[in-house]
Symmetry: C2
Subunit: 352 residues, 2 copies
């Protein structure tokens, strides 16, 4: 076995959180913002979404270097109606804007039943599940989505046309937990393609295109993930762009394909909707029905090819979280080396 396949080092989430916060502070981010960014990464690391955890620090550093991400953003409400807010994110890291946006959406929902915040001009949104879980844990339902620049095939075209766009829905679940669906519109993620490339494992047919826009199963050539269900996945992603980017006049697809100098810049827009279901029905009745529904689904015959029990949306991540809170987060050797390098460069104590 190669050295790559040895069991990765496990580090406590608390240590990773403090480490990534310290790195962001060393890079010029305020302690408060650095904490919010670190919390978003830790949330993903604990739930096993390794592509959105501390592994993102080098990408955030690159975006801060190129000024695509603003180290000291000033968030600003651009427009406001009774139930809708447009929040200018000033190129902040996604978590900073989404944290603020989810708070505003819940406040609006408390007052009118439903609140929508359109987040304009943010950067890497991180896992949408963080924010939709937070809304659900506060007793509300949530719908969140984000638009990004093209990196996924568009059905009917032999090229990237839309993004792998994330989408999340959540509701309050039993015992204060939330039921959180957190998905993207691609049939596979970019992270998965990178993983297969590193391991030189072939793709399944229909997963990705090469640079020329032809379908390939060669992991060294696969570049562009294909959309989930053809026109469904690419249609969803396009609708997110048309809804989240156009009304705030910050188009990502149109801009990407323009001849503007910064056409390739990293930029995102997002929506978060909170619905105060407590205004519609008593929480206890909702939870009774929730428990009945979960019980009915968990009583179905299990597909042993998939697992040992029927899981609810987000439950796999929840189980992983319990495990990782106890055992720590596995950090692959290569990523650890990159992070140690950053720690040395920025004179931040490393947890490794």
């Amino acid at each position: 076995m190669s050295s790559n396949s040895k069991a990765p080092n496990r580090v406590s989430a608390t240590a990773l959180n403090a480490f990534s916060k310290a790195l962001f502070v060393a890079k010029g981010v305020s302690p408060e913002h650095a904490q919010t960014m670190a919390n978003a990464l830790t949330w993903a690391d604990l739930r096993g979404v390794d592509t959105h955890g501390i592994s993102r620090v080098p990408m955030y550093f690159r975006l801060l270097d190129s000024k695509e991400m603003n180290a000291s953003p000033k968030l600003k409400v651009l427009q406001e109606t009774l139930a809708l807010t447009v929040l200018e994110a000033d190129r902040s890291a996604g978590p900073i804007a989404m944290q603020e946006a989810s708070d505003i959406a819940m406040k609006k929902a408390k007052s009118t039943g439903i609140g929508l915040v359109m987040v304009r001009n943010t950067t890497h949104t991180a896992s949408l599940g963080i924010y939709s879980e937070k809304v659900a844990q506060a007793g509300m339902a949530c719908i969140a989505l984000a638009a990004s620049r093209p990196n996924m095939g568009y059905y009917g075209a032999k090229a990237a046309g839309v993004s792998t766009a994330p989408f999340s829905m959540s509701v309050p679940g039993p015992k204060g937990q939330a039921i959180v669906l957190d998905m993207a519109c691609g049939i596979v993620s970019l992270g998965k393609l990178q993983q297969l490339r590193a391991r030189n494992e072939p793709l399944e047919p229909g997963w990705a295109l090469d640079a020329e826009g032809n379908e390939t199963i060669d992991p060294q050539k696969a570049l562009i993930p294909l959309p989930l269900g053809g026109p469904k996945g690419s249609g969803l992603s396009l609708m997110f762009e048309l809804m989240a980017s156009l009304p705030v006049l910050n188009p990502l697809i149109g801009h990407f394909f323009s001849d503007k100098e910064d056409a390739q810049r990293h930029c995102q827009n997002a929506w978060i909707i909170a619905i105060d279901i407590a205004q519609v029905c008593p929480q206890a009745s909702f939870q009774d029905e929730m428990e009945n529904t979960i019980k009915a689904l968990k009583a179905l015959p299990v597909d042993e090819k998939v697992g040992t029990s029927v899981l609810m949306p987000g439950e796999r991540g929840y189980i992983e979280r319990l495990k990782r809170e106890k055992d720590g987060v596995p950090i692959p050797a290569k990523m650890q080396a990159t992070l140690i390098e950053l720690a040395e460069k920025f004179k931040v104590p490393s947890p490794f």
Copy 2:
């Protein structure tokens, strides 16, 4: 060639609309409601969604006979906040409730920016695209979804656990047209399985389960469509149930698996959200960005395996509509015979 494969009769949409309206009236529905129901079927027939057009009349008749569908429903607002309404549909045909719900959602959105109507206790919702297109043509963005009883596999289980749940998103498009995504959460529709059964054509692997919950490609055994993208499709469908059915205390999954006498009853719940984007940006600017985005995507290299041009969500249906408005709607011989039988039974002039 068998007689089944001869070109079907084509009938004008206007004649089909008048015919289905007359049938509903003969069955005891008020002329106003019958018109709304007929319009929903015609919308689908024109766009080539043949499973949701006049072919549904026999199903609606069965539901009226069994009283699962109410021929003279009294719609009632159960709850109301500034931006949210719960509409009791009194087992009305879906189009009657959704028509009313989309009007209320738009009125709410005009006043607060975003409006949500939770439709409780409706029956077959028909194509969600009808209502989301209407909202978009009025200059607003729309999100609509419906919950129904289990008829699709739930990821990780060897049985139907959730429904093929429809979902629609729309925005105002160029020249008064709307961009309408109208999809369901299954990898194939129940209609498609029926079609393959009739033609005795094998399925593709991963499309459906048989009655025992095992994957099959045998069209005579395939019963339960599998979800789009495994946990993504079944997770989406479950979230629709948790959001649309539980807060209005009309659970469909929990009820279906209960030992109640009417556990198998047909019943649906739905959501329609309207967002008044005109309160956020000038319509002309939105349309400029829309045209740029469409132009960019249509300039991508075409995948000739799919078609001769890159299409926007809903565009295939729009093109079909233009064709069918001119040439009429094709009516397969078997369906025509069924409809003629109904016409004779209810003494309604038939257009065939």
